[in-house]
């Protein structure tokens, strides 16, 4: 009897053999499949390039998913259509730290992409390690791009130690979305149905209280699994008050205690009065605002697509000038040419032509919310008509990028450490003083680490 029960538990050898044969066959097919096609596309699996070999291929890495991803694909398709003899091999990787880690490793391993998207705030990590190819203005001009064609703030940020290392594609600031229906109910809109600019802490608190009185959630911001957003909120307010965080490329912390505590106290007041609901992850913030019972939503402008598709009555404007000036935290997507193991002028020329073609379609890109860095588009009538995207166009001239350091920039350790400390205040879970201490200690921890670049 026991023998029988044991027998059942043992796998039938014929089945196993059959399985192994089948599995082996499948594996062999996959290997053959890879050998025949030349690339593996993260999104689409194994793909065979349509045409072209060798220098005729441009390998392009980016971190653009969602709405940005589909806009970029549309722009790539236009390029591909105009340049059928060149194969544009585009790979989409996960946003944030993993992307930059992979990019750095690929460059160091000697097999970098020909061109990659990079946040300008990340140059301070890649430039000192000499991972990027400096760009020549003359060569750029040959391909139809001059410094005067770009938003000055973004173009200036594309330099490191006086050398141009990137071609800016856009400026993407922290902005204020507002639900027009809820704001009208609260009596906040003017005659033309717009929300007049809110200036000063009292005005913002008053507006939020009016929204709260209607029974709606006054404002939504997120922080769960998203330390970048608390950082953007804090850094915007703190920069408006005139504060600086780092100096000497991150070796020094110059966080001003009084100013930082003042900003954190303001955030704490919003939390304590229940004026901002921050108990959300990014998807939760979007869902709440989309549900239509929220007045204001503070986030980067890149979610505009979602609410337009969702048919929400909403508009957008620059983030309020709460403390003094109206500067706002922002970053820029840009094109960089990673350091190539062998200099190949033809390849670089191909890349610059591609970049110029993509820049020429900046209007497609702008639909996703980003302010084009390409001035011929930014100053065009077509862009001015693009609403609500062009409402905050002027912000591109008053932006503050993350302070340069090897550990700072988009999705970096600094955003993670600082954001974590600030998030606790947004939830009303800690005092502004304690949050300041933690913020300072975590920045101190980062700045004291030996510089790996």
């Amino acid at each position: 009897m026991t023998g029988q029960t044991r027998g059942k538990a043992i796998t039938d050898p014929i089945n196993r053999r059959r399985f192994l044969t089948a599995a082996g066959g499948a594996a062999a097919t996959m290997v053959l499949g890879t050998a025949c096609s030349s690339t593996y596309d993260i999104a689409g699996g194994f793909v065979t390039p349509q045409s072209g070999t060798g220098n005729e291929t441009i390998v392009y890495w980016n971190l653009l998913s969602g709405g940005d991803g589909s806009h970029m694909q549309q722009m790539e398709a236009t390029y591909q259509h105009e340049h059928p003899h060149i194969t544009l091999d585009s790979t989409v990787l996960t946003w944030g730290n993993p992307y930059y880690t992979k990019l750095a490793m690929a460059i160091r391993a000697g097999s970098p992409p020909d061109v990659a998207i990079m946040h300008l705030s990340r140059l301070s990590q890649f430039a000192p390690a000499k991972l990027l190819t400096p760009l020549d203005l003359g060569l750029l001009a040959e391909h139809g791009m001059t410094p005067a064609d770009f938003t000055p703030a973004a173009f200036a940020k594309a330099h490191y130690n006086g050398r141009l290392l990137a071609i800016p594609l856009d400026t993407h600031p922290f902005v204020q979305y507002y639900n027009t229906k809820v704001c009208r109910k609260a009596g906040l809109l003017d005659g033309s149905g717009q929300l007049p600019p809110i200036t000063g802490p009292q005005a913002l608190v008053a507006a939020l209280r009016k929204l709260k009185a209607t029974g709606a959630t006054p404002a939504v911001c997120d922080q769960i699994n998203d330390p970048a957003t608390p950082w953007r909120l804090f850094y915007t307010l703190y920069s408006q008050a005139g504060g600086k965080v780092l100096a000497d490329n991150g070796k020094q912390i110059v966080l001003d205690r009084a100013l930082a505590v003042r900003v954190l106290t303001f955030i704490d007041q919003l939390a304590q009065e229940g004026l901002v609901n921050a108990n959300n992850d990014p998807a939760g913030g979007i869902a709440l605002f989309q549900n239509g019972d929220v007045g204001l939503y503070w986030e980067g402008e890149w979610n505009v697509d979602i609410f337009q598709t969702g048919g929400l009555p909403f508009s957008m404007q620059p983030f309020p000038a709460v403390f003094g000036s109206g500067v706002t935290q922002a970053d820029s997507h840009s094109f960089v040419i990673p350091l190539q193991p062998h200099h190949d002028a033809q390849r670089i020329s191909n890349v610059l032509t591609m970049v110029r073609t993509l820049l020429g379609q900046s209007l497609v890109w702008a639909a996703g919310g980003h302010i084009p860095a390409w001035l011929p588009t930014r100053e065009s009538k077509a862009y001015a008509k693009l609403k609500p995207q062009s409402n905050y166009e002027s912000v591109a001239n008053h932006v503050v990028y993350d302070p340069p350091a090897w550990y700072s920039g988009s999705g970096s350790n600094m955003e993670e450490y600082a954001g974590n400390a600030i998030a606790a205040v947004m939830l009303g879970a800690t005092t502004p003083q304690a949050a300041y201490d933690e913020l300072h200690a975590s920045l101190e921890n980062l700045s004291k680490q030996p510089v790996p670049v």
Binding site: T2, G3, G96, T101, D226, D281, G284, Y407, N413, E416
Partner: protein, 312 residues
């Protein structure tokens, strides 16, 4: 016949057969060689490299080993509160998850084993989550934990209960991930216990029943002692698996380690410093420390449960 195959505590004794021994002399090493090559290439060599790199300030983005810094990396590591915080989270996760992942599957296995019909359904039900990839688990549970409109909060609200911040509390996040892990991996231990239960001869229970032993007495006096080896195996495997915690935490917290690093575990610290910050030398030092800790805890634990097993 049936007495001959009766497994005492199921230790298969392989008896060498004369005829095949000579062929086996060549075939053995031949079959093992491919594995050994990969083992040396991808395990021994990286381990040696890690030891070497931990003494240098090796960078991910700069060529070469970098500058020799002696034991400086270790000094920095031991004085970094973030490192100890992460190590504690790994240990805490192990302390909380291990007992649950031994007792619960054992309970369910005994319960299912007593069913006369439909055992296959429960075996499948318990094992199914285990075959899902961690990325799917993370996605599903992030949706369920979503504040306000998530499934769990929805149910709590329905009963008029307030919901804690499952993934937004500095203390609760790690426990939320323990719950996910229990649901995800319970099937593996469950299957081991079910297999162990099938090895216990029926006649023991029949004899016990004739003697008038209660259900609980049978479990305590027959099932648990006869499962001794399986329990030891599960306990040791579980401690090692728990100490290696990384993917659920990384995926659920989106690589951030939870609010205020409240759920950042040792492996994620290593990832953050070794890869994200590009400090491969320092990251190597941290992973070697974790390696030693896992080794020591595993051996101590093995010795402890072995002794316990002998005591029974």
């Amino acid at each position: 016949m049936s007495t001959a195959t009766l497994p005492r505590t199921a230790q298969p004794v392989s008896r060498p057969r004369r005829g095949r021994l000579r062929a086996g002399e060549l075939a053995g090493p031949g079959f093992v060689a491919p594995f050994l090559i990969f083992y040396a290439l991808f395990l021994i060599l990286p381990l040696v490299l890690a030891v070497i790199m931990s003494l240098f300030n090796t960078s991910l983005v700069l060529p070469g080993l970098g500058r020799f810094v002696g034991l400086h990396n270790y000094g920095e590591l031991f004085s970094d509160t973030y490192f100890w915080q992460a190590m504690w989270h790994t240990v805490l996760f192990t302390i909380v998850s291990t007992p649950v992942l031994i007792v619960l599957p054992l309970f369910f296995a005994i319960a299912v084993h007593r069913l006369s019909r439909g055992q296959w359904f429960f075996r499948l039900a318990f094992f199914l989550p285990y075959i899902l990839p961690s990325a799917v688990i993370a996605l599903v549970w992030t949706f369920m934990y979503e504040p306000g409109y998530g499934l769990i909060d929805g149910i709590l609200h329905f009963f008029g209960l307030g919901a804690p911040g499952w993934l937004s509390s500095t203390t609760l996040t790690l426990y939320s991930i323990v719950i996910v892990t229990v649901w995800w991996t319970i099937g593996f231990n469950f299957v081991l216990f079910v297999a162990g239960l099938q090895d216990i001869p029926r006649d023991l229970y029949e004899a016990a029943e004739l003697d008038g032993a209660s259900w609980w007495a049978q479990v305590r006096r027959i099932t648990i002692p006869m499962l001794g080896r399986t329990i030891t195996l599960v306990a040791v495997l579980q401690v090692i698996a728990s100490l290696k915690i990384f993917d659920q935490v990384y995926l659920i917290t989106q690589g951030g380690g939870g609010p205020n690093f409240g759920a950042r575990v040792a492996l994620e610290y290593i990832y953050d410093y070794g890869f994200t910050s590009g400090r491969v030398g320092y990251g190597s030092a941290a992973s070697l420390v974790l390696f030693v800790v896992i080794l020591v805890i595993s051996f101590a634990w093995l010795a402890l449960v072995r002794r316990q097993e002998k005591g029974v």
